[in-house]
Each structure stands twice: as C-alpha cells, then as structure tokens.
C-alpha cells in the first residue's frame, strides 16, 4: 500500500473488505463493532487444520455516507471464500437486528451489505446455513422497520449459494462487471448434471449466465457500476433513498415482474438468446463492450421497477 493510495480511486475487485469500507464511507467515519482485537474467531476450523481470521472474515460497523448514518457489513472474499460460518454469520445477523432496533429512535436508515461469498462454510455447514436463514429474517425485519438494505457485489467470490438468496432479499442491488450472483456454483451444476449442462471451466459461460451484466439486463440487479470503489459509493448514495417498502404491494409487483420474466424468456438457455429476444444490439458481444458502452445500452433497457 503506497502512502499516496487514495481509497476512492481504488478498484473494488482488488481491494480487501477493509479497503472497500474505507473508500465507501465518508473519510474517517467508520467505527467497527466487535473488532479483530476482540478475537471473536471460529472454534471449528482447527479440527480441519485451518487457521482463522481475527474478525472471522466479516467486518461490521457504522459510518456516514454523504453525511447520512449507515450501518455496514463487509465480507472478506479471500478468507475461506468469504463463506458463512457461525461467528461470521452471527455478526451479520446482529448488525441487522441492531438496525431494526434503532430504526424507531432515529437510527441509520440504511444498511450496506458488501457481499463477497461462496456461500456456506462447509466445515460449519449447519451454523452457516442457519445464519443465512437468520440473516434473511433480519433483513425482512429491518425493511419492515423502514431501513433500506443495499447489496454491493463485485468481488472475487461473488454472491453464491445462500449469499445469492440474501442478495435478492435486499431492497436494492448494485453490481460491477466482475460480480457473479447465483445459487448453485458452476462446479456443483457440472458435477450433478454434466459438462453439457454447465462447463464450469468456461469462464465466458459463467459470466454470461451469472455475471453482473446479465443480472443488470434481466433485472437481477438494479444498478450497474464501473469497478472503482467510488462508483459503488455513488450508487449507494443514490439508492439508499430509493428503497421500496416491504409490503404486500411490493411483493405483488415482484410476483408480476418475475412471472413476466419467465413468460418472456423461460425458454432461453443462454444469455445471447435472451438478448436477441429482448431486441438488444450485438447480443453476442455484450461481454466485450466497454463499461461506458454497456451503461449506455443498459440505460435504454433499464426497467425502473418498484418491486423487490
């Protein structure tokens, strides 16, 4: 890290979770909860001959975003794939429960989830899976209390498995080109269904099916950004006041939105088919476009929806 490193200019994908937080919030505004000096670590890794992390790979705290109080959680995608373990998951659950508790007394109106996860940490599978379910419950509770929950995705591990489900429980979703959002990982699909169904080594395929640009065009993400931390910051500032309420009307709109997608594109097996059907220019070349060209094109396709 050079002394002249300016967090805003840095690339989200290359940054650590702590660096992303530092560049996302207003300078010096971040206060960490249950920091690494508390050594709240996983007790389950040693029996698998794995070393741990002092924060168990999840950083939680508060800060300000353009002067507004926010709560944040950031997963370190390079520690055990950012996967959910007992302590890691409990910190996230606690943050969201705290957000809900403070909502009635003038607390932060937004929780930012910097997701970077392969899903459940298999060495702690049941605790990880349950923490994901508890996180979903806590996101709903926070949203019911009027708190926006915004997912920011663009790291090495993506948002896989339960992380993908958590993503879609959020009020709004921001992705970069690097992002992948999915439930089953490519290798798991290949192991179960064969390489014809999904060649997990075909990187272009992985991004066509699960990548940030595809999610943006299908409505699986609400905002596409270029890859710098400042781009995520800008999107978060805009979206934190645009969150849909958690009501029957919103879920009914989501039902219609998801039903329409199946109706229109339910027969498609690959992204270019989908783009061709939706009338996009150059359906085979979406991945090759520059970010500017993609953004220009995506804006014409942008379906401003009131669902989630």
């Amino acid at each position: 890290m050079s002394i002249s490193w300016r967090p805003h200019e840095a690339d989200w994908y290359e940054a650590s979770a702590r660096e992303r937080i530092a560049g996302l919030v207003d300078p010096d505004s971040f206060v960490e909860f249950l920091g690494p000096d508390q050594r709240a670590m996983s007790p389950h890794l040693a029996q698998f001959n794995l070393t741990g992390a002092f924060d168990d790979g999840l950083i939680v705290g508060r800060g300000t975003l353009d002067g507004q109080a926010v709560l944040l959680a950031a997963q370190e995608g390079r520690f055990l794939g950012g996967a959910f373990g007992e302590v890691h998951g409990a910190k996230l659950v606690g943050l969201l429960r705290g957000a809900r508790a403070a909502a009635g007394t003038g607390g932060p109106k937004c929780v930012l989830l910097l997701l970077d996860t392969g899903g459940v940490r298999l060495q702690e599978a049941n605790a990880g899976e349950l923490s994901i379910s508890e996180t979903i419950r806590a996101i709903v509770e926070a949203r019911l209390a009027g708190v926006a929950v915004v997912a920011l995705i663009g790291g090495r591990s993506g948002a896989f498995g339960g992380g993908g489900i958590i993503t879609a429980c959020c009020s709004r979703i921001v992705v970069s080109q690097h992002a992948r959002v999915s439930v089953s990982g490519p290798e798991v699909i290949e192991t179960n269904k064969g390489v014809e169904e999904f060649d997990s080594k075909d990187r272009a395929l992985v991004w066509r099916i699960t990548g940030g640009r595809t999610r943006t065009l299908t409505g699986g993400a609400d905002r596409y950004v270029k890859g710098r931390i400042r781009d995520f910051r800008q999107a978060a500032i805009e979206l934190m006041t645009q969150a849909p309420p958690f009501t029957f009307e919103t879920l009914a709109a989501e039902q219609r939105r998801l039903a329409e997608r199946l109706q229109e594109y339910g027969e498609c097996r690959d992204a270019p088919q989908l783009w061709r059907k939706s009338g996009l220019p150059e359906p085979e070349r979406i991945a090759e476009l520059s970010d500017d060209a993609f953004l220009a094109m995506a804006r014409t396709k942008e379906c401003k929806h009131d669902a989630r």
Binding site: F33, L34, A40, P43, F48, L71, E86, G89, A90, K91, G94, L95, R97, G98, A99, G107, V120, L122, Q123, E124, A125, N126, A127, G128, E129, L130, I132, E134, R137, A138, V140, E141, A159, G161, G162, G164, I165, T167, A168, V181, S182, V183, S184, I189, E197, I209, T210, T214, T218, G219, T247, F248, L258, A259, R261, L262, G266, C268, R269, L274
Partner: protein, 248 residues
Amino acid sequence: MTLDEGMTLDDVLASLFPGGHALERGPFGTVHGTGRLEGGGQIALVGIVDRTPLGVDGALLLASRVLAVIDKGGGVPIMMLVDTASQSMTRRDELLGLNEYLAHLSKSLALAAARGHRTVGVLYGRAAAGAFIATALSTQVLAAVRGAEPSVMDLPSIARVTKLPLDQLERLAQSTPIFAPGLDPMVAVGAVAQIWDASKPLAEQLAALLRQSVEARDRRDEIGLARKGRLLAAGIAQRVAKEAAAGA
C-alpha cells in the same frame, strides 16, 4: 424414499388432519389446499413434494399461493409441507435468476408471518441447501417428522470439496453437530424446533404447537445455545446488535 423410514405425504396428511383436508397437486411438484384443524379452524397448505428439486417455476408458484393467502386476510395460519431435494441445478434456472425466485418465496413467507398468518414448516422428507432455506427454514417454527433428512450438503460432497477423507469427516461428525447432515444435528443447532413422533397422531402434535404463543422474534440462535449445538452465535449476535443500536 424407503417405506420403513419416514412418512409419505398421504400418511402425513391423514395423521395431521383427521377432520379432513383438501389438497391439489400442481405443476413442478407443488401442492396447495387447506386442512381442518382439531377444535375448529383451518390451516392453509402449500408444499413441495415427491423429492422435487425447487426451481424458478415451483418457487414462483409457491410464492403466489402464499401471497394469495395474505391477500385473502383473516389471519389463517400457513403450513409449508416439505419433501424436496436441493434447488434445481440447471443452466436455465440460474440464467433466469433462481436466487430471486427463492428469495421471493422466502420473503412471501416472512410477509405472511408479519401480517398475522402464523407459518409452520413440516419437513417429512428431504430438503437441502437453497431449497431448505427457501421453504422449511423460512417458516416461523419448523417441525420435522422422525425420518426426515435435512442437510446443507451430503458428506461425500463435503469430503470432495474440503479434500478431507470421508472417514475422518464421519468421525468428526460424531463429535459435533455443527456441519453434519441429518435431523439430530439440525435440532441441536436450533434449525428444527420440534421432532414429531410418526408413531403418534400428528394432529395432536400440531395442536400442541399451535397452542404455543407465536415467537415475536427469531430465537433459533438462542435455542441452538440452549441445546448446546451452537454455542457462540446467540452471544455474538447480541453483542453486535447492542453496539449497532447504541451507535444511533
């Protein structure tokens, strides 16, 4: 499913609703209907059965059923019957955004609970991974019939991914419920609230469950602590929640 373990859907329904039930089978392995409760009243039924993997189509349909119950109002409780597999593992499901469809089902069940429709999960068969999260784990209270098989992932697959020998994993699984598949570990960590005895009428066990007051909040981590299956989660969540609420 072998006949000497677990119950079939028909067995479960007959035992749950001696007063009668009406269940329709829909596409994608889904079911919906109503059951008559002992002592009066009805419970709305939705489910995924026959070990069918949960994909975009099934999840959307189930969510629509739940939303229909909310729309009708009246505080009718909802039972989610579960005998699925994992989430549907296909290119098509992922391309269309399976995560959004599973989340939509989860959110719909959560909204139902928030709107006064008590949600009860009844796991009588299998459920794994994302399908487990979106169905059984998305209810306020989850009962499992002895013989049910919840899991995150089977041990041989865990062995493959973690590159550990299967016999070592099996040994470790004996000493801790934190990763092992199966019903007893899921009870120990707090995922499953109650095990129902298949040899006794399920109707009484359901009635007893419904007599308990609705949990206002998600206490599964506290249950996991009390049962000694998850020793750290509840305390950690509480500490962080306190700091998060105090900073406001």
